[in-house]
Amino acid sequence: MFYILCPYCGEHREEEEFHPKGQAHIARPEDPENTSDDEWGDYLFFRDNPRGVHHELWVHAVGCRKFFNITRHTVTYEILEVYKMGEQPSITAENYAAHQAAASADNERNASQGKHQQGVRA
């Protein structure tokens, strides 16, 4: 069960307070009337569904009622970042590997300084 940092409340909350609302950044076509049937179908139904880094829309339903985005790994379920509506993710499928490498280097550096891996609450 996820422990989710609400970017508005500023603290981690239990998954039970949130609802997932599908893929993030699905923008409604600017001019629906001049959108083809295929384009409209794509907007309504077609999704990335990646095995790996995924950007999702969630709402803090039992909380501040705000929608926000989560970048989450769909296999490890690790939440890589949360960001508010209108913001763009800094971690993406493209830069994930580099990001992980940097993070593990950080961890090793911390470990060598006698610090330990950060926990989910740290």
Binding site: Y8, C9, G10, E11, E14, E16, V62, G63, C64, K66
Partner: protein
């Protein structure tokens, strides 16, 4: 002006009034305190409750002007006046819950609307839709731990904090106005469920209800 309608829903004169728990207390009872009572529940009905929406800066200014009490400075903050009768709780980046003694809310709303002028804001009277339950006693924490997934440990939930969270299968606004007292702001239609749940969860601590 905001060009919204304000509506004073309080009747003049003596009109019978029923709190959301009137039926529940009658049906499920109000257990009296015993020697072993470690938690006490109390309803504070008929308070004035306003949902305030808008920008923090303008609302803060207006509230200071009208109530002499500004918005809490942080998310999840709860501030009260000296008497503890008026409180403002952060609900969302653009939403606060203002609780005042019953009857004050219409005047407060009117004055706030005046003070806010043309700003974009909203004020909704929600006093009929929710009631306040207080929990007190050494086992209050334990009863809450049975009921809410939110961490109520004093390190994590100091006085002056308030959150909206899951309560069993309902939702509550949970606040800590003082060291010894918790407040649950409960929606009217869920009040009976919440009450029955608390009686059940409090049974092992000989929960008492004061009314």
């Amino acid at each position: 002006m905001s060009n919204a309608q304000q509506f004073d829903t309080r009747p003049q004169g003596e009109i019978p009034v029923e709190s959301p728990l009137a039926y529940s207390m009658q049906r499920s009872g109000t257990p009296k305190a015993k020697a072993g009572t470690k938690v006490t529940m109390r309803e504070r009905p008929f308070l004035g409750q306003l949902t305030l929406r808008g920008g923090a800066i303008v609302l803060d200014e207006a509230l200071r002007e009208v109530l002499g009490l500004g918005l809490p400075g942080e998310p999840l903050g709860l501030v009260q006046d000296k008497a503890g009768e008026r409180s403002i709780q952060w609900m969302s980046p653009d939403e606060w819950l203002l609780i005042v003694p019953g009857g004050e809310e219409f005047d407060v709303e009117r004055r706030l609307r005046e003070a806010l002028g043309d700003a974009h804001f909203a004020i909704s009277n929600v006093g009929g839709g929710q009631t306040v339950l207080e929990l007190e006693g050494e086992a209050a924490n334990e009863v809450l731990k049975k009921s809410v997934a939110y961490d109520v440990h004093p390190r994590h939930f100091p006085v002056g904090k308030g959150v909206t969270t899951v309560f069993a299968k309902a939702t509550v606004i949970l606040r800590r106005p003082s060291e010894e007292r918790w407040e649950l702001v409960v929606r009217r239609s869920f009040a009976d469920y919440t009450y029955r749940w608390l009686l059940d969860a409090g049974e092992e601590f000989d929960i008492a209800v004061e009314n």
